[in-house]
């Protein structure tokens, strides 16, 4: 096989001559970065618009079955806002209702209510949350549990929204 045919095959893989190639100028780089800046600003704006649309769409009013029969110091599980979102409803010793997402903010294990200590606990890594506001009180979690907004009506207790 001749040198010429070898060269031709090599050129098929690398068709650009190095001396014909051109480097990115500072001006082009500045324009490219500014274009990227515009795209990032637009993407952040799109997220803000999505956030404005989301609350109305995501949170219907859903009746929590058996909530009125809950005894002080006990809890029950329900799903809100969709069937894929487990939540926990707690009736504190003083008789107040509190509801939170059951998904631990550390690594998404299911949290449970500990009656004797009046706290919400994650059994996976021993994380603890305050029953009153869902803030982390011990263990690895650093973010509070999302709170389910409740509304009590004559015919029962309704979940009507979520607060992070």
């Amino acid at each position: 096989m001749s040198d010429d045919s070898n060269t031709a095959r090599w050129r098929e893989d690398f068709p650009v001559r190095w001396d014909a190639d051109h480097y990115l100028t500072r001006r082009e780089l500045a324009k490219f970065l500014t274009l990227g800046s515009g795209i990032l600003a637009a993407a952040t704006g799109a997220l803000a618009i999505a956030g404005r649309e989301a609350p109305q769409a995501l949170y219907p009013a859903v009746r929590i079955p058996s909530a009125t029969q809950l005894l002080p110091g006990t809890s029950l599980l329900f799903r809100y806002p969709t069937e894929q979102d487990p939540c926990i409803l707690i009736k504190t010793g003083s008789g107040e209702l509190r509801a939170y997402s059951q998904v631990c903010t550390h690594l998404s294990c299911a949290v449970r209510y500990e009656t004797e200590d009046n706290r919400i606990a994650c059994p996976c890594h021993r994380g603890f949350f305050d029953v009153e506001d869902g803030r982390p009180t011990g263990g690895p979690p650093t973010r509070r549990l999302p709170r389910v907004v409740l509304r009590t009506q004559a015919d029962g207790v309704y979940a009507v929204g979520m607060e992070a």
Binding site: T34, S37, G38, A41, G45, L47, R52, P146, A164
Partner: protein, 81 residues
């Protein structure tokens, strides 16, 4: 009168500044995405406004530096004649 060297230094400095602001915008975007997923909607609008302001600032910097560069090149051509 501006020299090409001055233009190069200015261009490099502004390029670094634009790059830094783009990185801040990237951080704002990731923070906004995390806030959206955590349903902390109150963070989203300020993050969006801040990102928009940075973009406008970047665009003004680009306009300034390109204008400056053109002026330097024009003055250089006049001197060469």
């Amino acid at each position: 009168m501006h020299t090409r060297q001055q233009g190069t230094v200015l261009f490099t400095g502004i390029l670094v500044l634009i790059g830094t602001l783009v990185i801040i915008q990237l951080w704002l975007l990731t923070a906004a995405l995390e806030a959206l997923l955590a349903r902390s909607y109150e963070v989203l609008v300020p993050a969006s406004v801040a990102s928009g302001v940075l973009f406008v600032f970047n665009a003004l910097l680009l306009r300034y530096v390109v204008t400056f560069d053109d002026r330097v090149r024009r003055e250089e051509r006049i001197r060469q004649r």
